[in-house]
């Protein structure tokens, strides 16, 4: 055990060998006859099976002379260890050389033949497992851009790879949604014949008139304006809700398509987030083993390329330093006096108030912008100039984008002042940014709602006759769809503008700037959390809008496809690898949760519109009904009696309350089980420690006894 293998850096032809270790701590040999403590410890079974490298191969770390009898004893030990394992391991999982695995596989096959002549259950189980593996392998080959993602991961790290993998996943979601919508909405419309045109202008109706078609000769700027804002020729088109006629079946399939698509989204997102959650929930509190993880998992073995490697080494150095600084901060926090604690908490409360004030100002700005759009559009100056009209139309989108861009920068500045550790700061910034993005969307929807329903006041003058504000918004669903369409378009245009006007010029022109300023301005990094939150925001907008604008998932598919290639181009042309690695585990755990949150939030306006707001009387497949949902109970009435009774039973309290109780019991049981497993793990850990102490004690006694015998 005291032999050290010679290590010659020159043999590798390196230009500068690796630094040698500072203190080589060699095992101290007591100057007594008989075995030493270290050799006794090395003969233990746990050390032996580790060094066993397979039948017919020298045990690892052994000299030539000892090989013979050591090998025999190792072999016996290994076989004994194998027999204790529950069931045979597949050959490919054994850490042996290929020859040994081949022999193992042959012996396994022989055993299997002897056994399975009688039992068909194991035979079917084996077939099932093999077919599952084949299916999984087949699905993996279907995924597009696999090589691109691996290349990105190799050059820019796992965090960036996860962003593109999330983009690919969202693309799949949108493709599935567009296919479902096309089958359940477009196909029935086409099958029922040509849909009727917009309602005639002179038809008498208590709810006003609705005339979406443009009058007279349409100029080109107006056409362009229509394309960008969803009005004009696009307003009465399959793009928006208002176009679809009232058919008996179309109404039901329209509604069912929304629920089916929502269910598909939920299942796929849950399926994706389960693996990430599993890994993170298994870990005990992460703070306790962070150093081991840093040292052993720091190097991403998939990295290639000199520049990236040097950068990665700088990153690792930085991370290790940060980790040590955090330990110092934690130690300082533990010994703070009461006065210092009070001061720190006062600063934190003040900064949180500042953050809340900023968020409140942002939300008020969005609310005001939505209201001001309607007022500003009345002005004659705005009516005449199409460019000004476009800007006024896009006012809410502009406000939201500006706040989403500026406020996270402010959060980044505020966070270091609060005295938390770096990882805590990152989590806080993320939470605040998520809240900003999702809540600003909600505020926009809220202001639209107050316009549609006159602030919820059913008796207001504008809303009394028809239940909604028929004067300003004769077809309110189309208006909602238009707002979401505009948000989608503006998001894409803003991304393009940032890329063309900020990122590429920064790389090109600051490349000519000398010195440190130039270098600082030139190195851009791919900000993974900001980009991922932008993706999730865009997808939430589509989720809200797809009920009112059935072709929105199709548009979003095209947008994400374009975004993939644009981001890839920007990444490879202008960005350098991130200076702070965003751990893949955080991306896999935190962002699917935010995606689920976005899905839940987007369900609220859609469900509210379906159940509580009366549909427009002049447009859409639900015109003339009291609520959108009302068509479903009517069609249930046409089903056979037993089906009706069953469905009504599902809605009663006699079903819902026991369901709730059983779910709560199951959840409490799972939580208790997880807690007991945690306690079991700590108990086993303590047992390992005591057993190890026993082992060292016994080995010392063995050495003492044998040296006493030897001295005799």
């Amino acid at each position: 055990m005291d032999e050290s293998w010679a290590w010659e850096p020159e043999a590798w032809g390196l230009s500068g060998g690796w630094p040698a270790p500072r203190e080589a701590k060699t095992a101290v040999c007591p100057p007594v006859p008989g075995p030493s403590l270290s050799s006794v410890l090395n003969e233990l079974p746990s050390a032996a099976t580790l060094r066993y490298r397979g039948p017919g191969v020298l045990p690892w770390g052994a000299l030539e002379e000892e090989a013979e009898d050591e090998q025999r004893s190792f072999q016996a030990l290994a076989e004994a260890a194998q027999k204790e394992l529950q069931g045979p391991r597949p050959s490919r999982e054994l850490p042996w050389p290929m020859q040994a695995r081949r022999a193992h596989r042959k012996s396994l096959a022989r055993d299997q033949e002897a056994l399975s002549s009688g039992s068909r259950a194991t035979h079917w189980a084996l077939l099932l497992r093999r077919s599952k593996e084949k299916v999984r392998e087949g699905l993996n080959t279907l995924k597009p851009w696999a090589r691109t993602l691996k290349r990105i991961g190799g050059q820019f790290g796992a965090g960036t790879e996860c962003y593109f993998s999330l983009l690919r996943f969202l693309l799949l979601l949108n493709v599935l949604a567009s296919v479902l919508k096309a089958c359940m909405v477009l196909l029935p419309t086409w099958l029922e014949g040509t849909p009727p045109g917009p309602p005639a202008a002179d038809a008498p109706s208590p709810c006003g008139s609705y005339n979406p078609r443009p009058q007279g000769l349409v100029t080109f700027p107006t056409q362009l304006f229509s394309l960008l804002s969803g009005e004009g020729f696009l307003e009465w088109s399959p793009l928006f809700y208002g176009f679809y006629p009232t058919g008996p079946h179309l109404a039901i399939t329209y509604l069912c398509s929304t629920f089916a698509v929502g269910l598909v989204y939920l299942l796929l997102i849950l399926h994706r987030s389960v693996s990430g959650l599993k890994q993170t929930l298994l870990a005990e509190s992460g703070a306790l083993t962070s150093y081991s993880h840093l040292v052993f998992s720091a190097w991403d073995f998939g990295l290639s390329g000199e520049v990236h490697v040097r950068l990665r080494q700088r990153i690792i150095f930085y991370e290790l330093q940060v980790e040590l600084e955090e330990a110092v901060v934690r130690r300082q926090a533990a010994v703070r006096t009461l006065g210092q604690q009070a001061r720190v908490w006062l600063v934190r409360v003040l900064l949180n108030l500042v953050v809340l004030a900023l968020l409140g100002a942002a939300f008020y700005g969005v609310y005001w912008a939505t209201g001001a759009t309607v007022d500003l559009q009345e002005m004659p100056l705005v009516q005449e100039m199409p460019l000004l009209k476009l800007v006024v139309n896009y006012l809410p989108s502009i406000f939201i984008s500006v706040f989403n861009f500026v406020l996270p920068l402010v959060f980044n500045l505020i966070a270091p002042l609060e005295g938390y550790t770096r990882s805590c700061q990152i989590v806080l910034i993320l939470i605040r940014t998520v809240f900003l993005r999702l809540a600003s969307l909600l505020v926009l929807l809220f202001s639209l709602w107050s316009q549609i329903t006159c602030g919820g006041d059913g008796e207001a003058e504008k809303c009394k006759t028809c239940g909604y504000n028929y004067k300003d918004l004769p077809c309110w669903e189309t208006r909602l769809g238009q707002e979401m369409y505009k948000l989608l378009l503006f998001d894409l245009l803003a991304g393009l503008a940032v890329m063309l006007l900020v990122q590429f010029p920064r790389k090109l022109f600051c490349g000519l700037c000398p010195g440190a300023v130039g270098r600082f301005a030139r190195t851009q990094e791919f900000q993974v959390p900001d980009e991922v939150l932008g993706l999730i925001y865009a997808q939430t907008v589509v989720w809200v809008g797809s009920f009112f604008c059935p072709l929105l998932p199709l548009l979003n598919t095209a947008k994400f496809l374009l975004l993939f290639y644009l981001k890839k181009l920007t990444l490879f042309s202008t960005c350098s690898p991130a200076s702070r690695t965003f751990r893949a585990s955080t991306v896999n755990f935190f962002f699917p949760l935010v995606l689920l949150l976005g899905l839940a939030i987007s369900a609220v306006p859609v469900l509210y519109s379906i159940f509580l707001i009366p549909p427009s009387k002049l447009c859409g497949p639900f015109r003339g009904q009291s609520s959108i949902w009302a068509r479903i109970p009517e069609s249930i009435g046409s089903l056979p009696q037993t089906a009706q009774n069953f469905l009504f039973f599902l809605g009663t309290q006699a079903f819902a309350v026991p369901l709730l109780l059983i779910s709560s019991i199951l959840m409490a049981y799972t939580v208790a089980l997880a807690n007991s497993y945690g306690r079991l793990i700590s108990k086993l850990k303590r047992q390992i420690e005591t057993e190890a102490q026993n082992k060292v004690f016994l080995a010392q006694r063995a050495v003492a006894l044998s040296s006493a015998n030897g001295a005799l």
Partner: protein, 185 residues
């Protein structure tokens, strides 16, 4: 995938390699292609061997700070046969099971090959990671003591395999970072 020469590998061999490793069919064929490019001409691929220099100059391993350890752990008698290369690629592939990766990671990180990761090994790991000469003694000692404090359960100043396994099983990033793609792009 490039122009992979398929005609030299029999179908039964390919099936056997697929069953004995975690690699897919295409990956095995591409590694076979790269192996044929590097090994001396005229020899059948099953008998040809590569030196450790040749393997450590593969593009996937060229910049890895642990490439000498990787070559040492996976080679037999200081040379690489084709099956050794396949075994190495299988351990580093995406589909490999965690227990296999942890086992080989332990062997790679055990620089002095005494069956334990002790302080000397930890210092060498950190120096290789940072690859600079001006790492302060204090930083090294701090880090080593922190790592041992967290993961050394029996207080013998070394990490045995089970302690290492316990620490790595809880690390969600270990599987992601212990991956190498051996075929060229």
């Amino acid at each position: 995938m490039g122009q992979c020469l398929r005609y030299q590998m029999h179908w039964e061999d390919l099936e056997e390699y697929q069953a004995l490793t975690f690699l897919t069919r295409n990956e095995i064929l591409c590694i076979h292609d790269s192996f044929l490019k590097l090994c001396p001409p005229g020899k059948h691929y099953k008998e040809a061997t590569l030196t450790m220099d040749q393997v450590s100059s593969l593009p996937a391993l060229r910049v890895n700070p642990f490439r000498d350890r990787i070559c040492r752990v996976f080679s037999h008698n200081d040379v690489f046969s084709f099956e050794d290369v396949l075994g190495m690629a299988s351990v580093f592939s995406e589909q490999a099971c965690p227990s296999l990766k942890i086992e080989y990671a332990f062997r790679i990180y055990d620089f002095n090959e005494n069956g334990f990761i002790d302080e000397e090994d930890l210092q060498r790991i950190i120096l290789r990671l940072l690859n600079s000469d001006d790492v302060s003694e204090g930083l090294l000692a701090d880090l080593t003591s922190h790592v041992l404090e967290e993961s050394d359960l029996d207080n013998d100043d070394m990490l045995s395999f089970s302690e290492f396994e316990h620490a790595m099983a809880k690390s969600p990033d270990f599987m992601n970072s212990f991956r190498i793609h051996f075929w060229g792009y």
